[in-house]
Structure formats: C-alpha cells, structure tokens
Symmetry: C2
Subunit: 307 residues, 2 copies
C-alpha cells in the first residue's frame, strides 16, 4: 500500500540540550549563543536551549540562566527549557522563558534511578510542576521518557504510558512528547502508541523524541508520519548519547530528518546546508565526528545531491 504523508513537519532542535549535555568539554556561553543564532538562521522555529537541572549533575548546563537571558528575539521562534522539578520551572520562568518541557519517566526503575522517585511519586511532582508552570504563565510540554522501552525494565506496558499521557493532558499541559530515550522503538510500536496518543491529545500536538541507538530512527519517523505525527525532536549532526549505551549514537539527526522529508516533498523550513555547517563546526570544536550522515554528505562539492 502506498503511504500518505503530511505536507509540513515541525522540528524542535535539541542539540543545545540533549546533544551538548553528554559532552564533557564545556561549551562557552558565547559559543552556545552563536549556535542558537545559527540554527535559527537556518530556519529552525523551535529550539530547546538549556536544561534547568542542578549544575553539579550536568555542568554543561550550568549557564542555563545566562543563555536564556541573552537569547535573540526572533518572531515566530519558540525557545524551550528542559525541567525535571518545580525548582527548574521557577528558574526557567525567572530566566525569561515562556515555554518548558517537563520530563517524567514511564519506567518506574528509570524514574527511581534518574529522578530518585517512584513513578507514582514522580507523577505527583509532575502535577506540581504543571501547577507552578501555569502560575508563571508558561506553556508546558510534557516529556515522557522510556515510552518504547527501558534498558533496566525492558518493555514498558503501553497501557501505563497512555494512562500517564491522559493524566498529563487532564492536568492541562499544552503539548505531549513521547520519548524513545533508548532507541528501542520500532515502526510497529511507534504506530500503535502514537495512534492512541494522538486520539487522546485531540488538537494538542504530540511530538516524538527519537534516538537512533538501534538504527531505526528515520524508519520510526516514517511510521509516525503515516499515523499523523507531524512534530519531531532532533539534534544537529545526530548528537547526543544514551548514557546506558556507550558508543551508541544519540538523537535522530536534524539534517538527516529534514533532508529525507524534503526529498519526500514535506516542508520543514530548515536549510540542510546551513545546519550541516553548524554540525561540522561543532565537530571541529569537540574534535570528533557525530553519527549523523547528511552533514557529512553536504560538505562534498564534487557530487550531485538530489532533493
């Protein structure tokens, strides 16, 4: 059966947060601001710029306030901050953000190890986060981690996931993100869960946050497009790494996604060439190669590249 696809897709660039946070070499604030400017100039309309977690936990994100206070003012561009608790929400609001991504895990074990709380406790904290966020006038995206599998628990019951999504929607969140934190999703599980999440969410957007750890990143995107998902998180160059799989790759690459979509006639508004230059400059900065493909292809001027 031939598949049908949407005409437009929204991409949220998470390289500044999910990409950089796994790197030990601290990127200066000035450099981060340059990167943010460059991705916005490449046409990205949503950028996750920082994580408001404890600086001791992730030193790379210690300048979150400074970054947010110096963000460029561009019409139509939404900057997002990643938060794990009410403290993070308050910091994000104070730093001038209008939107946060509030994270919680669908895996009880992952929640206990990562957030030091059972899933049930984490859900109570999440409700508190939403309350505080709304008091500050923020729009809130929920970020549900380990939706498609957990490296500690294995498979996560989809009923648990969808029950959590429903409760989050009932709390009044503005958007939902289903995260395949470990890259364990496959096209079939993507379609099963996304279809039901989209039904629950109604006119609120459902994002997919995919990792390419097992190589299925863009196949999962394709499966998601076929069931009506039009919002995806990515990272330039395919940056980022799952802390549970050394040497494994990170998020799906922004350039790879945007290029595939453009070839398929699906518009994102993002310039692959300009974004590829951002990725390559970061590779130079870190002195290493990222796992994405298109930023590598785009540096060749001796071959035909067909959109």
């Amino acid at each position: 059966m031939m598949m049908t696809y949407p005409k437009d897709v929204v991409v949220e660039e998470q390289g500044l947060r999910d990409g950089l946070q796994s790197e030990k070499t601290i990127v200066p604030t000035e450099k981060k601001l340059e990167l943010i400017k460059a991705v916005v100039e490449a046409g990205v309309k949503r950028v996750q710029v920082a994580s408001f977690v404890h600086p001791k936990l992730i030193p790379q994100m210690a300048d979150a306030e400074e970054v947010c206070k110096r963000l460029p003012q561009v019409n139509g561009v939404l900057f997002s901050g990643f938060v794990l608790n009410t403290k993070g929400i308050e910091r994000a609001a104070k730093a001038g953000l209008t939107h946060v991504a509030a994270s919680i895990s669908a895996s009880d074990t992952h929640s206990r190890k990562n957030a030091n709380a059972s899933r049930e406790e984490a859900e109570k904290r999440f409700a508190e986060m939403v309350k505080v966020g709304k008091e500050h006038g923020l729009t809130i995206r929920s970020g549900l981690q380990c939706v498609f599998g957990c490296r500690f628990e294995g498979k996560i019951d989809s009923k648990v996931v969808l029950d959590m999504v429903k409760k989050q929607l009932d709390l009044g969140i503005d958007e939902v993100a289903l995260a395949d934190s470990t890259g364990m999703a496959n096209p079939r599980s993507i379609q099963e869960i996304s279809t039901k999440a989209v039904e629950l969410a109604g006119d609120r957007h459902v994002f997919l946050h995919l990792h390419d750890t097992e190589g299925k990143g863009l196949a999962n995107v394709l499966a998601a497009l076929a069931v009506g998902i039009t919002h995806f998180d990515t990272a330039f160059g395919g940056m980022g790494g799952c802390p549970f799989i050394k040497g494994a790759s990170g998020n799906i690459s922004t350039e790879d996604l945007v290029f595939m979509l453009r070839q398929m006639g699906i518009e994102t508004g993002i310039d692959v060439g300009r974004l590829s230059a951002v990725s390559r400059s970061l590779e130079d900065f870190f002195g290493k190669r990222f796992s994405g493909k298109m930023h590598r292809v785009m540096e060749r001027d001796d071959i035909k590249i067909v959109y």
Copy 2:
C-alpha cells in the same frame, strides 16, 4: 494509516563482496571461508561470496575461484557471485557457482566511468551475459545500479529504469535487484519505482540493494515493505562504502535490518547475536568500527534488549 507488513523477509548477505571490496587490507581466503561458515550458521540463506572482476581492479576479490571451490555444502543456502561481463560469468560457472548477480548501471555516465561503456552498449553486453549464463545453466539476478540517483547525473529517469527492468525480464533473468548504490533513494521514490518493478516482475522476486549513505536505509526498507518488497541485500555491520562519498557508510546493516524486522514480527531466520559477533570480529581484524548500530548494542550484557 496503519501499515501492513509481510510475515517473512529474505536477506542476502553481501558483506563478503560489497563490504570487503572497499577494504585495502586483504582478507585471507581462510578467513573469508570462516566468515561464510559463520554467517550461514547464523541463519543466512543467501550469501554473495565473491566478485569475478579483474583482480587488478579489486585485489580483495582475487581469490574468487578459491573461495567458491571451497564453499561449504549446505542445503537451502544459495551462494552468489557478482559479475560485470561474460568473462566473469564463465569464471563463476567454472568455479562451481549456480547463481550470479549480473550488474549494469541505470546511469549512462556511471556506466561509462565504471564499465567503460555507454548504457546502450552495456545493455548489449548484459544480453550477452544472460545468454552465456543460461548456456552454463546458471540462475541469474540482474543488478541495476544507480536506480534512485547517480552522483554524476543526479536523478535518473524512472522510465529509463523501468524500461531496463522490462528488457532484462524479457531476456529471461530469474530475479531483479534495484540498487540504490549511492544512498540517494527516499521512501517516496522507493515506493514509486518498486511498485512498478514488482508489477513488471510478476512472480519473479524484486530485491532492493540499499546503502545508508544519507541515513535513510531502514526508512527505505519500511517504505518498500509497505508495497510488497520482501527481498533485501545487506552487509554485516553496515560494511562497505560508496566510492564517491568518502567517509560515508555502506550497505544497510544486516543486524540492524534483521533486528528491526524481528521487533516488528517479521521473520528472517537470522540470529542477530551470532551475526553481530561476526561483525565485531571483522572490526577487530580491520582495526576499525563499522557504521551499523546493532552489533554494537549486542555486545552489551548489562542492558535489556527487547525483541
């Protein structure tokens, strides 16, 4: 729309040919035979074991005859040899193979540069190859290169491609392979061309030979499955490299494909763990890392891997 998928998929392992041929370090015949034994024991039912091209062109394949003469005899396993001309066909037959993959390019420029013949001349040679192959009682798969794009010409007219497929079928070939030699295919072009090729081929199998150069390998597989393609070429570890894009990755990884399919409930008969061990042993041999993902994931014994 939810997609429907086949129950079984046939995988042809091409690591021994398309993988090794791009490596400068010569793999001893003994080691190649060990690899062939290992992939067969991992459940692979079709293996392309050698290329009958001039040894000066590809020194790695200079032992093609020796490899073929010493192949293990296993019921239900088909060994294939890659050929570019009638000389190659005769060598393959003499070495005891019963099946060959006869290659020709859909790109005129690529044909001139690679096979030293215009596309039209190459088609005449191809007809001669089929004639000679049949005289030797061989079954023949055509391998049509650059179907989805050429790094010299850019896009290739799908009418040219389908016309070539039709002519090859009329010559009496047994199977067709559409090769995305440069990794330029996208899910939409895969579906458009594959659908028509399957119609033309009737009860003869249409293989897709995909490269992951632009990161779309498994997305293209998914698109192909949805239009009824059930035969794919792969290489262990994602070995191989397009000669026109340095540093770019090679074939889609056998392990990545098999693992995704198994997660989706589609059987190949191949053991991902055993094949991953083959890839890692080859990485040790060459002292480098291949671009596939699952052979890396499978070496971890401290994380849950969910099928």
